[in-house]
């Protein structure tokens, strides 16, 4: 996974490069927007971590122009400005996610992996969590290499949950995903599907837990032993 870090603070950049490298990323670091443009033109990157305020301009403006020009790379915006207004501005400029300084490396890695797990992302082909792996191309699941057979609706649910592993997937999103599999998507049909999926994962010892957040949605996470 090749990543471009655009950050002008040398000390912070150094530490982030170190942290991301340990998490398995290959990191190129630049300190200015013109250097970033040059790096992106020269090499192929899977994702970009972009600081909002840089010596030669505003990262948000720069990204907006790139998006208008058709750049589809996943961008994560990093900034010291964390007022809610700035957050909206950051996402409006076309960033896929937004992280305010100070942040924990763990959080940055998790957010980046979530970005890369999106359809089209470099991690989007095979989703992994615990001992479970999900091949999104052939729509097959396996636990520690052993094939796990799931129904089409269960696969849909699982994919939605795995693409946002560690984060809440709202009920509405899951219900929309299920629509079409079930003739009546009643108030309890989502619960019934999740409950079946949960039992299968447990029986296969997939090491994946599906948490219910009553009234909110579901969250898939690695089972803590």
């Amino acid at each position: 996974m090749r990543l471009l870090l655009v950050e002008d603070n040398d000390r912070l950049a150094q530490l982030v490069v170190k942290g991301l490298s340990e998490a398995g990323f290959t990191v190129d670091r630049v300190a200015r927007l013109d250097e970033a443009a040059a790096a992106l033109a020269a090499g192929k990157f899977d994702t970009v971590v972009l600081d909002l305020s840089l010596p030669d301009g505003d990262g948000g403006e720069w990204l907006r122009k790139r998006r208008a020009a058709g750049d589809k790379l996943p961008f994560l915006m990093l900034t010291a400005r964390a007022s809610t207004g700035d957050k909206v501005k950051g996402l409006n400029s076309g960033a896929d996610d937004y992280l305010a300084k100070p942040f924990e490396m763990e959080e940055l890695v998790a957010r980046l992996k979530a970005l890369l797990r999106r359809p089209g992302g470099v991690l989007g082909l095979t989703l992994e969590l615990g001992r479970l792996s999900f091949d999104t191309v052939h729509r097959e699941t396996a636990v520690a290499g052993r094939r796990l057979s799931l129904s089409a609706s269960e696969l849909t649910l699982l994919e939605l949950l795995l693409r946002r592993a560690g984060r809440v997937v709202p009920r509405r999103l899951l219900e929309e995903g299920l629509y079409g599999f079930d003739d009546d998507v009643g108030p309890n049909s989502l619960e019934a599907h999740v409950s079946r999926l949960r039992k299968k994962l447990e029986a296969a010892e997939a090491g994946v837990e599906i948490h219910t957040l009553r009234g909110v949605g579901y969250l898939a996470a690695e089972r803590s032993e």
């Binding site: 603070n9 000390r11 912070l12 530490l15 982030v16 170190k18 942290g19 340990e22 010291a80 400005r81 964390a82 007022s83 809610t84 207004g85 305010a100 300084k101 100070p102 942040f103 924990e104 490396m105 763990e106 560690g166 984060r167 809440v168 709202p170 948490h211 957040l213 009553r214 009234g215 909110v216 949605g217 969250l219 996470a221």
Partner: protein
């Protein structure tokens, strides 16, 4: 212009002085009229005296016993005397007028109020001499007081009253711009510090004062803004060093030291975050059309905090958020308030329990309950003060979180209450006004 201190009131003082002036003018005018009347008196008696002689003449008659009689109206306003031709007095008032010169059949004596008229003529009781005069102060004063009662007062009193009422109304009307200014000034708060006193439709005399006040407000606002910006800038500037510190911790070999330092960094980050929130809040004003759906808000906050909660083996649930519950409110600040409450609840609720976010529509409210130790009644009223901390929150946060929630609620004309959650624990509720 406190009504309890009338002498401090400009309106009262002006009205009082105006009343004095008007009364003095009316009194002086009346007095002048009376003086004029009095000098006029000196010319009038001749006709009155002739009338009086006629009256006395008509009043003379012979009684059934053959004696002369005089019948006059009670308390005549003149003095009189009736004598026989040879000078024997027949009738006289208490202070008869002076003697008449012999030989004349009629005539006037004296001047003005001393005037006396006499006539010698044949009457019902034979030839007599009749003298009348007005040398009678009491009578004169009575004439004046009657004139005052009958002619002056009916005109003067209503005029005086009308002048006073019109004066008071004019004053009140003239001072109305002051009251309008006062009501505008009362609305100038830290959150609405850009408001200024209106200069339109203002008496020219007030304009310099209002200009001066507005200029003073400008200077205060500038200072206030500078302080607010400083807080925000300082907080921003602290973020990058904190990020470096945090990233550095990940590279430490000693994991236990790193974990403990990370807690400290997290606490500092939280404080910086809250300082920023406070700075933002100072400028928070609600736009009239802003609407926020409490149900969506509850789900958003739950989604955002659930991963952290689950990591710490706490659960979050949302109830009552199936249908939208829309209130007049600013989404971002309400999000912040709810987030603070839920973070607080997650910190206090015991492991393995659930923090409940409940949305209610009638009246619109949102509440957060935890399964912690609850909050003693004695601590509840201090809970929302800045930097106030109970022992139960020792070691974490600066005590700004709930003060921020309180400020946001106040900006929304909402009330925040704390009570016991059913089944134990604390419950915070933000109630909106319809």
């Amino acid at each position: 212009m406190s009504p309890s201190q009338p002498f401090r009131s400009l309106q009262f003082r002006l009205a009082w002085r105006l009343a004095l002036v008007v009364s003095a003018v009316v009194l002086a005018t009346s007095f002048a009229i009376l003086l004029h009347r009095r000098s006029g008196m000196t010319d009038i008696p001749r006709e009155e005296l002739i009338e009086a002689i006629d009256q006395v003449t008509a009043g003379l008659s012979l009684g059934s016993d053959g004696k002369p009689q005089l019948s006059l109206p009670a308390n005549p306003e003149y003095n009189y005397a009736v004598a026989t031709a040879d000078g024997k007095s027949l009738f006289a008032s208490a202070r008869p007028p002076g003697q008449a010169p012999p030989g004349w059949s009629a005539g006037f004596l004296g001047e003005g109020s001393q005037a006396v008229a006499f006539r010698r003529l044949d009457t019902a009781i034979g030839r007599v001499e009749i003298r009348v005069g007005v040398e009678n102060r009491q009578g004169w004063a009575a004439v004046l007081s009657r004139e005052l009662d009958e002619e002056l007062l009916p005109v003067l009193l209503p005029t005086l009253l009308a002048a006073l009422i019109i004066g008071a109304l004019t004053l009140r009307d003239g001072l109305r711009p002051l009251q309008r200014l006062a009501s505008v000034a009362a609305g100038i708060t830290p959150a609405g510090s850009e408001r200024r006193l209106p200069l339109d439709d203002l008496p020219r005399e007030l304009a310099p004062l209002v200009h001066a006040i507005n200029a003073a407000l400008d200077r205060l606002d500038e200072g206030f803004r500078a302080q607010r910006d400083f807080t925000a800038d300082a907080a921003h500037q602290l973020r990058t060093p904190l990020a470096i510190l945090s990233a550095h911790l990940d590279t430490l070999d000693d994991r236990t030291v790193a974990a403990s330092l990370r807690e400290d960094v997290a606490r500092m980050s939280r404080l910086v975050e809250q300082l920023l929130q406070v700075a933002e809040l100072e400028a928070l004003t609600l736009k009239p059309q802003e609407r926020t759906d409490l149900s969506a808000l509850a789900r958003e906050v739950a989604e955002a905090l659930a991963p952290m909660a689950l990591t710490r083996r706490r659960d979050i649930a949302v109830t009552g958020a199936e249908a939208p519950v829309t209130v007049h409110g600013n989404h971002d600040s309400l999000h912040q308030a709810l987030r603070n409450l839920v973070e607080n609840a997650l910190h206090h609720t015991s492991e393995g329990t659930t923090v409940d976010i409940a949305v209610q529509s009638e009246p619109p409210s949102i509440s957060v309950s935890d399964r912690g130790p609850g909050i003693p009644a004695a601590d509840r009223k201090n809970l929302f003060q800045r930097f106030w901390r109970t022992e139960r929150s020792s070691g974490r946060g600066a005590g700004l979180g709930l003060a921020i929630v309180q400020r946001i609620a106040t900006a929304h004309a909402a009330r925040i209450d704390v009570d016991d959650a059913p089944g134990g624990g604390a419950r915070f509720t933000i109630r909106f006004a319809g």
